[in-house]
């Protein structure tokens, strides 16, 4: 049975699109059929991050309005066979998404794929609530800083109230993905520590993605981080997070604690 995953955050610019592409690519590389769907109508970015911006003919809104079939709008990734992208429209806005249309398209996607990953726009209005509406699993992307944490808390509240699962009385599986984590700054007290964020949000930790220049590089090259920077700490973190989503118990490789002098000599290098 297909799983619909929503990557959401509340706050903008924390790494939802980057994470959607990275997780989607990692899951597809492990052999599963994955569709990544861009819900950010009018400000689409997923096509850029996936390197597909020059192949967009039809988009999500076209499919909803019956102007194109789903098969015509889906773009197959050039590098990974089992990875497809459903881009958003750039010329319209979020009002073009209708609850019925979204439900219909997601149902169709569920039949063809093992994972349907919905890249949510920032905010708590229509685009974000539609992206989370039919999700089975949520990945809440958070930066270790106060505005992001509070916005993530708000989104978690919405995940527990405004989704089809919540309305049916079922629990939505929620995971925290902490991105742009800078351990040195956390130690200096400039950023929140992992434990602080977990204490405030109280949802299980999926992974910690360290702050990394590889992410921006990958984005500008139009490649998911797990494809072009798989060996870097950020790439590894995303790959492990994808394995955890699939149910594997993978210990956290990114050490969040302070390493002493000896630890620096003999321990693993942190980002």
């Amino acid at each position: 049975m297909a799983k619909v995953l929503v990557v959401t955050s509340g706050k903008g610019g924390v790494g939802k699109t980057t994470s959607t592409a990275a997780l989607g690519a990692a899951l597809a590389q492990s052999g599963q059929n994955v569709a990544v769907v861009d819900f950010d109508v009018g400000l689409r970015n997923l096509d850029l991050v996936m390197g597909a911006e020059r192949r967009v003919v039809y988009d999500f809104v076209n499919v909803i309005q019956g102007e194109a079939k789903l098969a015509q709008a889906l773009i197959r990734d050039k590098r990974i066979d089992t990875l497809h992208l459903l881009p958003a429209s750039q010329t319209r806005d979020k009002d073009a998404l209708t609850p019925e249309g979204v439900a219909r398209v997601l149902d169709e996607l569920r039949e063809r794929f093992d994972w349907v990953i919905c890249d949510s726009p920032a905010g708590i209005e229509r685009g974000a609530t539609l992206a989370m509406r039919h999700a089975d699993v949520a990945v809440v992307v958070t930066n270790p800083e106060v505005s992001s944490v509070r916005d993530s808390d708000r989104i978690i509240g919405l995940l527990d109230s405004k989704t089809a699962r919540a309305e049916r009385g079922e629990r939505m599986e929620k995971h925290l993905l902490l991105t742009r984590y800078d351990r040195a700054r956390a130690e200096r007290g400039e950023m929140l520590k992992v434990d602080d964020v977990l204490e405030i949000l109280s949802i299980p930790l999926l992974g910690i993605v360290p702050e990394s220049q590889d992410v921006l590089r990958a984005s500008n090259l139009g490649q998911p981080v797990t494809v072009c920077a798989a060996a870097t700490p950020a790439g590894r973190a995303y790959a492990e997070a994808a394995r955890r989503l699939s149910g594997e118990a993978v210990p956290l490789s990114f050490s969040a604690e302070r390493t002493g002098f000896l630890g620096k000599l003999f321990g693993r290098r942190a980002a």
Binding site: R150, D151, I156, G157, I200
Partner: protein, 232 residues
């Protein structure tokens, strides 16, 4: 020699909603006839209207501005003080006439005759919240206490008729005693609240001693002041 400025204590400023029972008089036209009836009635029960708040109910007989002004002054001459006018738009009231009011409900005449003392607040059971209260959520329970078995996030609020107990960190707003209960208290395990209020008396985080941060804290009303103290 410079004199140190002592920080003046901020005056207590409270606001709340209160409901009162008022007499409602509904005038009919012609006005002179109605006033004559009124005079006949007060002749039989002198002093009935003195010191009672009276509302003028114009919902069935809308009066124009000049008639309304005249009516209010005629009633004032008879020592009947009008508090507000029901049934007319605020815009259609002339200057010098009491304000418009809406939302009146009928009450039994026995209640009107009795001079009411302060009512005992209606109390129900406690509301237990077992999940953390997320940012943006608002828990409203005017009937009694609210007990949160978790934390209350920044940007969330708890509004209770009775006391509020948080077995976790209180990071949002806690508003207790809203049904008019000054004995209500707010207790939490870790204090990081944005605002505390009990029965209309409130303090924002800025006005609370910063030494109380992250400690178990109790808030209560004493001598008409909101007291916030540590309980450890």
């Amino acid at each position: 020699m410079t004199a140190a400025l002592a920080a003046a204590p901020r005056p207590a400023f409270r606001f709340r909603g209160r409901s009162f029972l008022a007499l409602s008089l509904a005038p009919t036209l012609p006005l002179d006839g109605w006033l004559a009836e009124l005079d006949a009635w007060t002749a039989r029960s002198p002093g009935f209207f003195s010191n009672r708040p009276v509302i003028l109910d114009c919902s069935t007989t809308p009066l124009d501005k000049s008639t309304l002004s005249r009516l209010v002054s005629e009633l004032a001459a008879r020592a009947i003080r009008i508090m507000a006018v029901e049934g007319l738009e605020a815009g259609s009231l002339p200057v010098g006439v009491p304000p418009a009011i809406a939302g009146g409900r009928d009450a039994s005449s026995a209640e009107i005759a009795r001079r009411s003392e302060s009512r005992a607040p209606v109390r129900g059971g406690a509301l237990y919240v077992e999940e953390p209260v997320r940012s943006g959520q608002s828990i409203l329970h005017p009937a009694g206490d609210v007990v949160v078995l978790g934390s209350v996030a920044s940007g969330a609020e708890i509004v209770a008729g009775g006391s509020i107990h948080v077995y976790g960190a209180l990071r949002g707003r806690a508003i207790a005693g809203v049904a008019g209960e000054p004995g209500a208290r707010i207790l939490c395990r870790r204090f990081q609240a944005e605002l505390l209020a009990i029965d209309g008396l409130y303090k924002a985080a800025d006005d609370i001693d910063p030494a109380l941060l992250d400690r178990p804290v109790q808030a209560r009303v004493g001598d008409d002041v909101l007291l916030v103290t540590a309980t450890d």
